[in-house]
């Protein structure tokens, strides 16, 4: 007897259809799994055998061969357990095989037959629909997540016995509950700009960064609030669109990093420690896993103490920053992970951290050496540099300077203006303007042009910084609702420029 069951393997953040073929033959009882299965899959034999016996079924004393097709695709993890168990039962005639061919099954089995939570359910659900199947049987803890895919029949089950009942047509499974029986999301108070005291300059820069999608470098002594500011950037970014939210949910599900189920509604904020490796940052490993850059997709990647990161890790960020995706190639496998994030980095202004104050003992050489440790290509992608200073006691006793809600409205309005202007160009926001688009869309008024020329002639502005300043000026004008970029917009953009050298006296030379 032969049975076919459809399930899915995760590759990158997508799912690939896998057909589980189970063949029962007379002969000495054996249980073999073939088809490029890793250790976790091969161990499925023991889980499947116990689960079948503990669910009141009989384990066929025959020669059982399980093939996972396509054979060339590497299969990993315990997600094939349920499909194999269903195949064994169907091949032995203990379950109706014809119903099994119209649905996909996905899940890990416990020895007692219960279904465990797994990874990548949303990707599997999307794959099921794409494969033209009507329903998906899966652990009921994941039913809510799978239900995000419209038009898919989601059949949540608690254990193997309930799966069998579904396949026999006796029940439709447990209905997807909103929380899916999952661990509740820790509902801390959302981070808001209203928590910030003082920091007038950095707050404005955050708005500009959010409005134009510009990467941001925060520079300041330790303990002045750089991390606190960066954490609040997602709160003024435009809300996730449904498509973006699905993408973020899928990524977090694949990475197994979801405390709850259902749709993710907050933009991710990732702050990896500076000891992270290149593959931790952009993804990798012998069986590719998404890295922090992917987990920050549609959100913010915050690199605290940029100079402390390994150079190799920072260099690895170049492709993801440039292309918005990263391809991890391992042997014959390629996993593509999306990486469209805003980069926020923080650094001390000098080795001791107190540059510009009398406490600083660093000389010009020390500062220059410290800055050289920051990766040049990465600095090239930072449009804004903001100095963060210690707030004063007066700042603490005063009220907040702004609230996330109002700032977000302004950011959304600015983004909408950009979307209209950039429709059809492939650029989504001002940060993505290339040289040609800068020339076409950044119209300076007469005084603005004079200021730009002056800045350039005085050596304040380098040729490299030229387009960068214009992009930022465009964003500032958008934030203020102006179609033309005025001198004031340009002056502010110049004030936010990144290429400040340690000794400006020398720049003039």
């Amino acid at each position: 007897m032969l049975a076919h069951v459809t399930t899915f393997a995760i590759q990158g953040v997508e799912s690939r259809r896998v057909t589980v073929e189970v063949d029962l033959r007379p002969g000495l009882p054996t249980f073999t799994i073939v088809g490029l299965a890793d250790r976790a899959v091969r161990e499925a034999r023991e889980r499947v055998r116990s689960a079948i016996l503990n669910s009141g079924f009989e384990f066929p004393a025959r020669r059982i061969t399980v093939n996972l097709a396509p054979a060339a695709l590497r299969k990993e993890g315990p997600g094939f357990d349920l499909a194999i168990a269903c195949g064994v039962l169907a091949a032995g005639g203990q379950l109706p095989a014809e119903r099994l061919e119209r649905v996909a099954v996905f899940g890990e089995l416990a020895l007692g037959g219960e279904l465990r939570r797994g990874r990548g359910v949303l990707a599997v659900a999307e794959g099921t629909l794409a494969a033209g199947l009507r329903g998906l049987i899966l652990p009921c803890a994941h039913a809510a997540e799978a239900a995000l895919v419209d038009e898919l029949g989601v059949l949540g089950a608690a254990d193997l016995a309930e799966v069998a009942a579904i396949l026999r047509g006796e029940t439709d499974g447990s209905p997807p509950s909103p929380d899916g029986g999952a661990v509740p999301v820790p509902s801390g108070r959302p981070r808001d700009l209203a928590d910030v005291r003082g920091h007038g300059g950095p707050l404005r820069a955050l708005s500009v960064a959010a409005a134009g999608g510009h990467n941001l470098l925060l520079s300041g002594p330790p303990g002045t609030g750089k991390t606190m500011l960066a954490q609040r950037l997602p709160s003024i970014l435009p809300p996730l669109s449904r498509a973006e939210a699905i993408e973020v949910t899928r990524i977090q599900s694949v990475a197994g990093r979801r405390p709850g189920s259902g749709l993710v509604t907050e933009r991710p904020f990732r702050a990896p420690h500076h000891t992270i490796s290149a593959s931790g940052l952009v993804g990798g490993g012998s069986s590719p896993q998404p890295g922090e850059a992917t987990l920050a997709h549609h959100g913010v990647l915050f690199l605290d103490e940029l100079a402390e990161f390994a150079r190799s890790a920072l260099e690895a960020l170049r492709q993801p920053l440039e292309d918005g995706r990263v391809a991890i190639v391992r042997g014959q496998r390629t996993a593509v992970y999306p990486t469209r994030f805003m980069l926020v980095a923080s650094t001390n202004p000098c080795p001791c951290g107190y540059a510009g104050t009398p406490r600083c003992r660093c000389g010009e050489g020390d500062v220059a050496r410290y800055r050289r440790r920051l990766s040049g290509p990465l600095l090239d992608r930072m449009d804004l540099l903001v100095d963060v200073q210690r707030p004063t006691p007066a700042d603490f006793s005063a009220g907040p300077l702004c609230r996330s809600e109002q700032e977000r409205e302004r950011v959304v309005a600015a983004r909408e203006r950009q979307a209209v202007r950039l429709a059809g160009t492939g650029a989504a926001c001002n940060a993505h303007l290339d040289a040609a688009l800068v020339r076409r869309h950044v119209a300076l008024d007469k005084r603005g042009a004079a200021v730009l020329r002056l800045a350039y002639d005085r050596g304040t502005l380098s040729p490299r910084g030229h387009d960068r300043v214009l992009r930022v000026a465009r964003t500032i004008a958008d934030l203020d609702g102006h179609e033309t970029v005025s001198a004031d917009h340009l002056l502010e953009a110049l004030g936010l420029r990144q290429d400040v050298t340690a000794s400006s006296a020398e720049d003039v030379a």
């Binding site: 300059g201 050489g365 500032i476």
Partner: protein
Amino acid sequence: MSEPSRDHTHDPQQARGMTAGGPCAPCLRRAALLRLVAGRIDVARKRRHPIRDVLALSDDDLLAAVGGDEAGELRRQLDELSLFDLLASASDGELEVVCRHGAGYPARLNDDNSAPAALFVRGGRGPRDGGLARLARLVGDARSDDQPAAVAIVGTRRASPEGLEIARALGQGLASVGVTVVSGMALGVDSAAHAGALEAGGPTVAVLAGGADVAYPRSKARLYDAIVASGGAIVSEMPPRFAAFKWNFPARNRIIAALAPVTIVIEAAERSGSLITAEFALELGRDVGAVPGPVTSWRSDGTNALLRDGATLIRHPRDVLDLIFGVEHAEQVARRAAAQSKPAPLDTPDELLALLSAIDDGRDTIDSLTPDAAGAAAVRAGLMELELRGLIRRTPGGRVLRTARAEW
């Protein structure tokens, strides 16, 4: 300790191939000797012998002092060195060479009994604009009766933004009235002084510890090129391509101190190289001035100590002019400079003036100048405009600094 012999006979064999008026063989040999035993001098100086005493030794005494048992072997190596190759490598590096018997040798250096026997000088190309011609114009030579006005400006490599700004302003102000700025092209104060002089279009002289054809520190390669391009001179007593040892830095400082009648120290820690320069200047009977600083800062420990010991207090370029020319003549120079200086800067709008006065009150960051988040935009734009007008400067920590203006 014996004085190096000043009269010597030309050895025709060694002098062959050298043009008349060029450096004489014993002086070149001295430069080659210093290169040969440079490493040994560092070792021998462990007991902190003053570098001027070491360099005042005659060739033989120096060899004996640092050579020990190997003095004879060293002498043999020295005799085998080709002075002609030395001259050839100098001209490869676009350096001109003068010895202390030559007409192009800066007369001021003769006050120093440890003065370099030979100088390697980088300048422009051609006889009228070569290194020696430039050096003669900038700090004078044996032929000139009137020695050009010059000032040495030195200070810490780890300068504060304020220190850099003062160095720049002094360099700029003094160069704009034709005073040659002499310094060591080190990081920090030295470079800022050179850069200030260049801003005024005024030539400047950099004295290097290593070979004059090598821009050291490397990060100052642009400054090196700018000095050469603007009519300045790069000077060293060491042969071309020589990489400096520790002792070369205080040795370089004695040349800086000797080349100018006035030495100004801006920001120096106690027991620092800048103080060594000031000490040399005093030993040579030069005037020493110092810019005061807060008594709480290590950067002003050295300068404040100089002031207590009687150095002239320097606040701006005018104070230096008084020191160089005497109060009366300085008055005339300053008046001429004021007449020639650029027209007053553009009218500054009221908002910017308000911003400036807030900065003067110590509110020198965007945060402290910003009343609310919306105001940050205007403040940042205003500060940028002030920066473009040259009225303020940004420092690495994000503070802004009023630029020091030359006041005549």
